[in-house]
């Protein structure tokens, strides 16, 4: 029992050290990996890449470099405000007159992070009145949940609004909704141009649109082509009102759902992994600039306004484990433990194992040091578990077994 208590302490300490020591290492030696900023120039019909570092370099894919002003002039729809202040905004681009209202109406910014997907579900959402006749949206008194029915809970008094719950549940049921819901997606804020309610996936993966119009439910079922399993739906509030949302499926495709027609359009941008990759989509009067970024790469796909692919840019760079400091780390430590992950809002034991087996040299050296240290303490057989632990966990296990010393054979 005493020996077991020691092994438990060694295990806990090894775990703790495998989290703390690497954290200290990276805090001391880590260097920033500067990702390039890639944008498509509608003037040059080429990608412009801005690289930060000791010196900021702005270049295109043909190797031409640009000053800051030249760079901004080649991205006129991105830096419109600056160009107007500088007086260098062009009157026409590609034969199209530059009308500020038109530019603003077509300008869209969308930013997705993996933490938008890997995060606890709030479970309750406010259903706004979509046509209140008021200039601003107002926060409703109640929030809804979806279980075996749709329930509204009034915040004042924490009570279920029975009548409203029945009315909205019946509306969903009559449109073929199969309770419960797999996903509820919307923009739960009053700070948007108008309300388009929520998109809800039912238990049979059918997609429904739910709104409240003058207190009454509005339910529309979106007809999906074939068997599509959505992993995430990100609703948008763009001025051009062309589509409701970007939708990601479990095969790595990105779709949009068009406004009013509920037509699903697949974007030809290649594979996207929403659980670990970022996505930014910038739209202007000419193009959609779809930028997918992951660990060590960026892919920028340019689409025209009909969502057809025009061109693509790819770049990769060494990830942290491939830098000199990363290689040193992999040589010294077999793994590291973190309780947080940049791609998730959940805490968990996130182990990342070092590439290669150079760390085994350090582990073997530590095993030899340990044998020297314990040679007077008794037979080696009594320390086999400790030695195996050091071999597997390197310096973490070595420190742990020496904090909680194995002295039972004295």
């Amino acid at each position: 029992m005493i020996r077991i208590s020691r092994y438990i302490l060694v295990l806990v300490t090894t775990l703790a050290l495998s989290a703390v020591v690497p954290q200290m290492w990276w805090m001391a030696f880590d260097t920033p990996i500067r990702k390039p900023i890639v944008l498509y120039s509608c003037v040059e019909n080429d990608f412009l890449i801005q690289r930060t570092g000791d010196k900021i370099v702005r270049e295109d894919t043909r190797g031409n470099t640009y000053t800051r002003e030249e760079y901004e002039e080649r991205l006129p729809l991105f830096f419109m405000r600056q160009l107007m202040i500088s007086g260098t905004m062009k009157d026409t681009i590609n034969g199209v007159a530059m009308d500020v209202h038109e530019i603003n109406m077509n300008r869209t910014f969308f930013n997705y992070q993996p933490t938008d997907l890997n995060t606890p579900d709030p479970g309750l959402w406010p259903l706004f009145e979509s046509e209140s006749g008021r200039a601003n949206l107002e926060m409703p008194e109640d929030f809804f949940r979806i279980t075996w029915r749709l329930e509204f809970i009034n915040a004042k008094g924490n009570q279920i609004s029975e009548e409203k719950s029945r009315k909205f549940s019946a509306a969903l049921y009559n449109r073929g909704f199969e309770f419960p819901a797999l996903m509820v997606a919307g923009i739960p804020t009053t700070r948007k141009s108008c309300d388009e309610g929520y998109f809800i996936l039912d238990s049979h993966h059918q997609l429904f649109h739910l709104k409240m119009i003058k207190g009454e439910p509005y339910v529309k079922k979106a007809e999906l082509p074939g068997e599509i399993r959505f992993s995430h739906i990100a609703c948008v509030d763009f001025k051009d009102k062309k589509f409701y949302a970007y939708l990601f499926d479990n095969k790595g495709d990105i779709y949009i759902l068009t406004q009013d027609e509920y037509e699903l359009v697949k974007l030809p941008v290649g594979n996207f992994h929403p659980e670990k990759e970022e996505l930014r989509i910038y739209g202007d009067i000419f193009h959609y600039n779809v930028i997918i970024g992951g660990n060590g790469f960026v892919r920028d796909v340019v689409l025209d306004k009909e969502y057809r692919k025009i061109t693509e840019f790819n770049e990769t760079w060494p990830v942290r484990s491939e830098t000199n400091i990363g290689r040193w780390f992999a040589g010294l430590f077999p793994f590291q433990l973190s309780l947080s992950d940049d791609n998730s809002n959940y805490h968990n034991f996130y182990f990342s194992f070092s590439k290669g087996f150079i760390w085994l040299i350090v582990s073997v050296l530590l095993v030899i040091v340990q044998i020297v240290l314990i040679r007077k303490r008794g037979k080696l057989m009594g320390h086999v578990v400790d030695l195996a632990l050091i071999l597997a966990t390197g310096i973490f296990g070595f420190i742990a077994v020496n904090i909680f010393q194995n002295k039972f054979f004295k």
Partner: protein, 222 residues
């Protein structure tokens, strides 16, 4: 004799437990007084919205209360045993030394658990008065690792206090200082959901950790 040991532990712990429980309940009272006040002044729907979508954690004032409880109970129970090495008297009783130590930690952990359950239960009850199940359950998921931190601090605190050698006492403290933050990471409500079972298992395993320093104490490690 078992009753005698329990009584001895109770004598050591009673006032600390009562004062700690009162302090924890006062903290709980403050949390829900503040919730009530904020709901009256900001409207319930705005308050719910803040909790659901703006990351407002109304229960955040409880974060270090269980940890403090674990340390207080460990110190109250085991520090007196180290003064003049009184625990040796216990070891001379006609009962297995390990069983004696496990009885002591078992009793301390049970007392702590009772206070924790009281605080946790009252929290759930009061939270359910103001909030729906979704908000209360997310809060409970966030609170649980804090209470597990308290239990871990108790077991590790007992281990550190009973360790006879100051150098190792310091090293154990460093190990505990590296491990206990596992339970206290900042995050959105419910972020600890995937980690609760592994952490609970580790804490349960730690419940026998006192045996190690008890053994070293008995063997006269200097």
């Amino acid at each position: 004799m078992f009753k005698g040991i329990i009584f001895k532990e109770w004598i050591k712990l009673r006032w600390f437990l009562v004062i700690y429980a009162v302090f924890a309940l006062l903290d709980l009272g403050y949390i829900f007084l503040k919730v009530r006040h904020d709901i009256i002044f900001n409207e319930a729907n705005s308050y719910w919205y803040g909790v659901l979508f703006m990351g407002h954690q109304y229960f955040r004032f409880l974060k270090y209360i269980p940890l403090a409880g674990g340390i207080v109970v460990a110190v109250a129970q085991f520090f007196p045993e180290t003064v003049n090495k009184r625990i040796k008297l216990t070891f001379h009783l006609p009962r297995k030394e390990d069983a004696m130590l496990l009885t002591m930690t078992g009793y301390g952990a049970t007392c702590l658990l009772v206070v924790y359950l009281l605080v946790f239960g009252l929290f759930l009850l009061l939270s359910a008065l103001f909030f729906p199940a979704e908000i209360t359950s997310a809060a409970a998921l966030s609170l649980t690792p804090w209470f597990l931190a308290g239990m871990a601090a108790y077991f590790l605190g007992a281990l550190i206090i009973l360790e006879p050698v100051w150098l190792y006492r310091f090293l154990y403290l460093v190990a505990a200082g590296a491990f206990v933050p596992f339970f206290l990471k900042a995050g959105v409500s419910g972020s600890y959901a995937p980690l609760l079972v592994p952490l609970a298992i580790l804490v349960a395993l730690l419940s026998i950790s006192l045996l190690f320093s008890g053994y070293r104490f008995r063997k006269g490690e200097m």
